[in-house]
Structure formats: C-alpha cells, structure tokens
C-alpha cells in the first residue's frame, strides 16, 4: 500500500486485493519501519486495529477504511493531544475535534497523531518538544512546518493522506518540501472546534495528500457547517471531487509582479517550467499586481502573535497540562509552569503578541496590522477581476538542513512563508502542488483562488497533474538506515 493514493487504495479494497485489517496493519508496520523520521507523537495501534476489524468496507464511500494521521493539535477523546509542547505532554482531551469526527464518519481509520512545530509555530518542525522530523527526501533536513510530521508521514507512504492546519503556510510549505499536494481551504470551510488554536482568525485545517484528487476527496469529508464554531460558514460540505475532471473553460492565471526576482535562478526555473505547463494546457498567463503584498509577513507577525498571546493564556498549569512543582504562590505557579512548559519560539511569539496589544502600542501595531490586512484582502479582490487564479511559488527554496535557518535570526525562517501568508490574511483558499525538482529535491507552486473557490483550485491542480508526473515521485529513504 505504500505511496498509494486514496483512490488506488479504494480500488484495492473494492477488489478485495487487500482487506481493511491488512491495510491498517501495513500502515502501522510502515509507521514503525520509518520511526526514525519521527513523524508521529503517538501511534494509535490498538484503536486503529480494533476499528479496522470492526469496519465494513463501503464501496460507495471513497474514504472507507482509509488510514489517516491527524496533526497533534486536533483533540482526540482520551488520546493524547500535545501540540508537540511540553505544556500538554500527556494531555488527554475529554472530547474529539469536529474534523476528526467528520473523517471518522467518512470511514477513515486514524492510526497516529503527527509531530508538528510546537503549537504550530514554525516552518521547519524544529520547534517540536518531541524532536525534529526528517524530510523523507533527505536525511537531517526539515520537512517544513508546522505540519511537518503530517507531510513526512504521507511522503514516506505510511498513510495516503494526513490532516494539517495552515495559519501562514503550515500545510502548503511542508507539502512543497515533501512533494505533496496540500490544500488550505477558505477560512470557515472547516470547523475549528477541537483544533487547538494558534491564531484564531488565520487557522484553517486542510488535507495533505499525493495529488489534487485525494485532496478533494478529503476536503469533501472535512468540510460542512458546525454549530459549535460560529466562524464556520453556514454551508453544506463541499463536493469538489465530482467536478474535478472539468477542464472545459479557459482560465487565466495571474502571476504576481511583486514576487518577481525573489527566487534563486534554480527555483525561478522550476517555477517557469510550471508556467509553461499551464500555457501548454491552454491557460492564459497574466501579470497582476498585489501592491500591499510586501507587507504580508510583518502584518502576519503582528496579528498571529497577538492572537496567540491570548489563545495560549489558558495554558496556566491550573486545570490541565504541565504544572510546575514546588511553587510557593500563584504568581510562581504561572511563571514556572509556563516557563518550563513552553519552548523558545512559543515564548517569543507570546512576548511579541503581548507587546503589540499593550496599551500605547495597540494602535501602532495591532490596529495598523488589521488595516493592512484589509488592504491585502482588497488587493486580492482587485486582482481577481483580472484573473481566475493566482499562481506563485510556494516557498523560496527546497528543504534545508536542520539548524541551518533561523537559529541566529528567527525572522530568517519567517520568510519561508513569504508566498503563503497572504492567503491566510485574506481568508482565501490556496493549494501547493509538486513541480520541477531542484537539485533532486521537491519544490512546489501555489494556486490561490477567490473566496470559496476550492473547486476551481482543485480542478486546475488536477489538470496540471494530468500532464506532469512530479507528484508521482516517492523518496527512497535508503540513506536513512
């Protein structure tokens, strides 16, 4: 089953080439085999096997008996949910996230919780309390982040797809670095109930899979209104997979003027190859302008930390999670529990967020950032008058070595999300799909669509994948052992 897509596994199950139990067993075996990648915080062997044994395969349901791994910030009842943080080590929530429930009702069998940057704060999965994750394509190199474990678990072929979350690029950038297709839907498409918040107004769950069609299958099962999340859109679940083969109309792809000259020549060449492919497929390419896009990284690094500084206040050692021992008073309980429980990047962002919301600074930072956010959203609206989708690179480079970026200057790592952050600020859907390799390593490009237009994104990505085979490549992982 290794490296098979959801659709392929569905065929195998339908033709009885494999039973649900065999499929789950193999997935669990692969998880053990590739333990050295450190994809998983927790492997759910017993429950997964029980579920597989009790499952009845439903040929009409594309996700029936399909193994999945969940990012370790989705709450799972009585199963540890840690956000890869010491402060939640051993925490077992008394309830389950809507996304996890939705996929379970669709027939998925969850085999594991995936490693991630602590509280989803990072672009390399290096901030995890449970250790770094190797990129299956290259040892001692990062899988990207924050959904790094999710990306590595799919890239290594342990599961055909995994759930991730994307606050500033946390699905798309690891997808690009691990040769996967990763979708960040429209804000509000997928319920945030039970998804431990990093930045509430930016966080959005989504799938990482081998191709666009698998993303569509997963998306259709993950979406739908949830009365427990007032920011979830009052809309039915998507049905993107039904129309994924519709390439009938000619689309115009906008290429962002302001992004030109930002890439190394090798990365630029890979991106130009993708543009050529689209042109050959009949797409029109048009230069468009997003005048305020240059402010997206600083804007993001005001808004996201502000929200996180407040969202993470509940981790105080009082009701759950890590509580420092031998504290003398309340203030010490807070200071010690949080100092011991949070890692450096999380602390850094809490400090930034606290600062930008403080009296006297709020107007200069937080309020200003919200204004710029509105301008960026307007830029997209204007641009979509001229094109149907926007085409950009996903990340500035390929995977990089452990500890090579951001150790001296953390903002160096923040630039990993240069191309992805704006879609979160505008709340619009975006996907990353594999393209021409650079130095034998995966790279990706991004398609951004107007609000709610996941269907168009997935059709276009699927179209691209009909004509290219980058997404079919798998890492050998030979040099790991």
């Amino acid at each position: 089953m290794q490296h098979k897509t959801i659709s392929e596994l569905h065929e195998m199950l339908a033709s009885k080439a494999i039973t649900p139990v065999e499929l789950v067993e193999e997935s669990l075996n692969l998880a053990k085999k590739y333990e050295f990648l450190n994809c998983f915080n927790f492997i759910n062997e017993e429950k997964a096997l029980t579920q597989a044994k009790n499952a009845t395969f439903d040929p009409n349901n594309p996700l029936s008996c399909i193994p999945v791994a969940h990012k370790d910030l989705f709450c799972t009842e009585n199963i540890q949910t840690t956000c890869s943080s010491k402060i939640l080590e051993g925490f077992k929530p008394p309830y389950t996230a809507t996304v996890v429930e939705n996929l379970e009702s669709a027939g998925c069998i969850a085999i594991a919780k995936t490693n991630m940057d602590e509280f989803a704060m990072g672009s390399s999965n290096e901030t995890s309390y449970f250790g770094k994750v190797h990129n299956p394509w290259l040892k001692d190199h990062v899988p990207g982040g924050s959904s790094g474990g999710a990306a590595a678990s799919v890239a290594s072929g342990v599961v055909p797809f995994a759930t991730g979350t994307d606050t500033g690029g946390s699905i798309r950038q690891p997808a690009a670095l691990c040769n996967l297709t990763g979708l960040k839907p429209t804000y509000g498409r997928i319920s945030r109930w039970g998804m431990i918040a990093f930045a509430s107004s930016l966080d959005q769950a989504g799938p990482l899979a081998h191709n666009a069609k698998d993303c569509a299958i997963a998306l259709d099962a993950m979406t739908g209104h949830d009365h427990k999340d007032t920011t979830s859109l009052a809309m039915e679940a998507t049905k993107t997979v039904d129309s994924i083969d519709d390439f009938s109309s000619t689309k115009t792809l906008g290429v962002v003027k302001e992004f030109s000259g930002q890439l190394s020549s090798e990365m630029e060449n890979a991106f130009q190859e993708s543009i050529k492919t689209y042109q050959n497929l009949g797409y029109k390419i048009k230069e468009i302008s997003l005048p305020n896009i240059k402010y997206s990284v600083p804007t993001y690094y005001v808004i996201a930390p502000a929200e996180c500084s407040s969202n993470l206040s509940r981790f105080d050692g009082v009701r759950f999670g890590h509580r420092s021992e031998e504290v003398k008073n309340l203030e010490e309980l807070y200071i010690k529990s949080r100092s011991e429980g949070f890692g450096n990047e999380v602390k850094r962002r809490i400090l930034i967020g606290t600062y930008v919301l403080s009296a006297g600074y709020y107007d200069a930072y937080y309020k200003k950032a919200q204004q710029v956010r509105r301008l960026i959203t307007e830029d997209f609206k204007n641009a979509f008058q001229e094109c149907d989708l926007i085409l950009t690179p996903t990340s500035p480079g390929t995977t990089f070595a452990f500890d090579s970026k951001g150790s001296k200057d953390p903002t160096e790592l923040y630039l990993e999300d240069l191309f992805t952050i704006a879609a979160n600020l505008a709340g619009i859907p975006a996907i990353s799909i594999p393209q021409t390799f650079v130095n034998n390593l995966p790279t990706g490009h991004q398609l951004i669509a107007p609000h709610l237009n996941e269907e168009l994104i997935l059709q276009t990505a699927h179209h691209f994948q009909q004509d290219t085979d980058w997404h079919l490549k798998s890492p050998s992982m030979e040099d790991f052992s």
Binding site: C75, F91, R192, T230, T231, S309, S313, R314, V318, R319
Partner: protein, 476 residues
C-alpha cells in the same frame, strides 16, 4: 468649605438566562461546585464560544426601556488577565461596540425627580469563584459561575449623593426585575456595583481625582460605603493632601473602605476583538418581536391599577413598586380574588408580616395559592377579617393552608341567625342595666354588647349578623 460629590456607578446585573453566555451549561444557583460546567466553561484547549441570543434579547429589553440606542451589530472583545477562576486567561466582553448605548434612568428622591444618563450597557461573561478557606493548603476553584451572562450598566457621573446612588440602584433593580432581565437577587450576587466617587469644591468645573469602590452588593452598603468614602476624601483634601486614584474595597464589618493591593488591579488588559466570534447581528424582526412582547413597567402598572382596578393611590403605588408583589397581586386577580380585597391584604397585613422579618414575599412560606385561599374564605364569609389575621399569621409561620387551619382550629364563622339570636337574647337578658343605659341614649354601649357576643363566640360570630340582631333586640 462646601464640597460637591460626583458619583458614577458601574452596575453588574446577572441575566436570568437558563444557560451561559457562551456555552449551553446551566446557570442555576447553588449547584455543587463545578457541576454547571462544560468543556467551554473550563477553557479546554480547542473549544470555542457560541453566543446565547437570549442574553442579547434581555439586554435589548433593558436598552429599550431606558430609551437607549440598540447597536444591532455589536461585537465582543477579549480582556486579558491571569486569574485561576478565569479559565481562558481572558474575559469575553464588549469594549468597542456594546449592545446598548445611551439611555436615561429616572430616579425619585424625597419627591424630587432626576434623570441619570446611562453611558452604555454591555454584555460580558462572569468569572468563576476562588475559594480560599475550604482547604488548608490549596485555593479551590468553582467554575459554576464562569460564563454566566452579565449586563454591565455604566452611568454617567451625574449622581451627587449616596442617597441618590441608592435611588438609582433601586430604579435599576425595579427595571431589571420587571423586565425579567434578572432575578435581581442581590444576596446571590445577581446585582452588584462599583462606585466611582470623587469630590470637588462647589462651583469647580473639573472633576476631582476619583476612587473606585469595588463590588458592593446591597443598597445599605452602597449608601454606607459611598458616605464613608466622601468623608474620607474630604478629610484628605482638607488636610492638604491629595486623593490617590485607586481601587478600594468596602468592609461592611468595619464600615470603611480601604485600598486593594495594587497587584489586584494593576493590569493592562490588552483588549482586542474576539476572533472566535463573529459580530452579533440583531435584525429588525427580532427587535419588533421584543417590542411586541414588552413587559408592563411599574408606571404603566400603577396607572392601570388606579384607573381600571380603582385601587387607592397608596395601594397602587406599593403594589406596582416591586415585581414580586405585583406578580402575586395579578395572579390573585387572575384566579378570581377581588382586587380591592387582595390589595388591602397584600399592602396591609401581609406586607407588615414580611417587613417585620425583613423577608421578601417570594422567600416566605406564603404562596399565591395560600393567599388566594385566605381571601376566598374572607369573601364568602367563612371567616371574619379578624379571624383572617389569625389564620394569616399561622399560615405565614407554618405554610399550612388556610382551609386546614380554619378546620383544625374550628375558626369557621357562625352565620346561623337562630343560633346567634338565642345567644344574643341571653346577653341582653343578663345585662339589664346596660340595656337601660343604652336605651337612655348611651350609644357607645353598643360596642359592649358586640364585645360580649364575640367573647361568647370566640370571635367567630359574623359581625354583620350580630350587629343586625343586636340592633333589633336593643331597639325594644
């Protein structure tokens, strides 16, 4: 030196919704610790708030009653601070765009009317409770109250004495109870206020430095706390010192205010818009619905009692002044009691009993049903008014029903004319001297005969029948 007092009040009213502001947990009072608590109230990782519209409807009802502007689109903000009984580390409140803005509350003090302007009224969630004395080592947390909806009503600094402050609070109390916005139960913390107090030389335009007295929860303490604070401030200023802007607590046992430790309030709350909740939009239909079902307010009630029920001004005044009295009164009439009789007993003997023990009607053993039964027995002449007092006292003390008290004590009125006549004849026969004096013109002696008759019947003789027969007998 003449000093002028400037007071502004921030009143927290607990709304009488069944469930909390952002979760579906119950708001019932007095439950075992941490039982009215769900995932949202605990602030567990990954949970999200959802809005209880009922709280908005109640807030809007209050706003409409004071002629305020209703912001049909309002939003929530986060007020960030750490405290163990604040599970999320922030309180969800309305900072920038409250549901209610402006409005006026009319107060009356010794016959003088005055209007106090309201700045705003906003919705927010209450915190839980920290319990410091139940365990020798640890402080304990009870989150039952966490998330209970509060309406914070902020007045303009237009109140100029402690007595006015009390009058304002009483006016608010009347409004929120009549509007069914809150049960108004102050001893359970359903209404409490913070008082901002400052003084200035009479004629000065600028406000003096103010202090804030936190969390006062009775009318009596409001008056005492403010008066203490005024005297303290005068003393400070007259000794040439300056008022320190600070938060103070009123200690009822010592009847004084004293500063809270600075740590308890030295916070930068880092307000920002709550990203987990969309702005709350109230449409025109919802407003119309609220207006159509608007409860009758005290003034309207009073007029109706006067004009339609023909009650006396005094009775109408008293019965329309508190929600509990007017509710019982109206229920009695609805169940068939005579309005004048019901008013007489509620305002008279029943109020006297309650006042004696300082009890509210709803907290006493007297129910509407029991009172109704008593009134029925009076109306149909089963008992006289005098006996009724006895029955009421018994009923008030034990909660036993008037019917059963009348039966077990044999208090039923004697209305048998023949029986009364033979008894009265005997009284007349036994008192020839008094009869002679009466017939000679000493009218007052009539009462003597009535007294004898009542003594004989142990008060159960029907006074009207006795009077009638006596007149006939004595006229001879």
């Amino acid at each position: 030196m003449t000093w002028e007092v400037v007071i502004g009040l921030e009143t927290h009213v607990q709304l009488s919704t069944k469930t909390k502001l952002f979760s579906r947990a119950s708001t019932s009072f007095g439950a075992d610790p941490n039982t009215n608590v769900n995932l949202v109230d605990c602030g567990l990782p990954g949970v999200l708030p959802t809005v209880n519209k009922e709280a908005f409807y109640k807030a809007i009802r209050f706003g409409l009653a004071i002629n305020a502007t209703i912001n049909q689109t309002s939003h929530f903000d986060r007020k960030n601070y750490f405290y163990p009984d604040l599970p999320k580390g922030y309180q969800i409140t309305q900072m920038d765009r409250p549901i209610v803005e402006g409005g006026q509350v009319e107060i009356e003090l010794e016959g003088v009317h005055k209007v106090i302007n309201v700045t705003r009224a906003h919705l927010e969630e209450d915190a839980g409770k920290s319990i410091h004395d139940a365990d020798p080592i640890n402080s304990l947390i009870d989150l039952n109250r966490a998330g209970t909806p509060l309406l914070e009503i902020v007045s303009e600094p237009e109140i100029s004495s402690a007595k006015e402050a009390v009058a304002y609070m009483k006016a608010l109390h009347q409004l929120i109870t009549f509007l069914d916005v809150s049960d108004g139960n102050m001893s359970q913390g359903s209404m409490r206020c913070d008082a901002n107090v400052s003084i200035r030389k009479k004629g000065d335009k600028e406000l003096g430095t103010r202090t804030e007295i936190k969390n006062i929860n009775s009318f009596r303490f409001i008056e005492k706390a403010i008066n203490f604070e005024i005297k303290r401030q005068i003393k400070v200023l007259e000794s040439g010192e300056k008022i320190v802007q600070e938060t103070r607590l009123y200690d009822a046992n010592k009847d004084e205010t004293r500063p809270m430790r600075t740590k308890e309030f030295a916070n930068d709350y880092r307000y920002f818009p709550e990203p987990d909740l969309l702005p709350v939009v109230i449409n025109d239909d919802e407003i119309a619905e609220i207006k159509n079902n608007f409860p009758e307010l005290p003034n309207e009630k009073k007029l109706r009692y006067l004009n339609e029920l023909k009650l006396s001004v005094n009775d109408a005044d008293i019965l329309s002044s508190t929600k509990s009295l007017s509710a019982v009164f109206e229920k009695l009439i609805e169940n068939g009691s005579d309005s004048t009789l019901a008013a007489k007993w509620l305002v008279g003997d029943i109020s006297a009993l309650l006042n004696k023990d300082q009890v509210e009607l709803e907290n006493s053993k007297l129910t509407t049903e029991l009172i109704g039964e008593l009134l029925n027995n009076i109306s149909d002449n089963t008992i006289s008014g005098k006996i009724a007092k006895e029955v009421l006292e018994e009923c008030y003390a034990t909660g036993e029903s008037p019917n059963s008290i009348i039966k077990s004590k044999g208090l039923k009125q004697i209305t048998d004319t023949a029986e009364l006549e033979s008894m009265l004849k005997k009284i007349v026969d036994d008192n020839p001297e008094q009869v002679a004096q009466f017939q000679a013109g000493k009218d007052k002696l009539f009462g003597y005969f009535v007294g004898q008759a009542m003594k004989e019947t142990k008060g159960k003789g029907n006074p009207e029948i006795i009077n009638k027969i006596l007149r006939e007998l004595l006229a001879k």
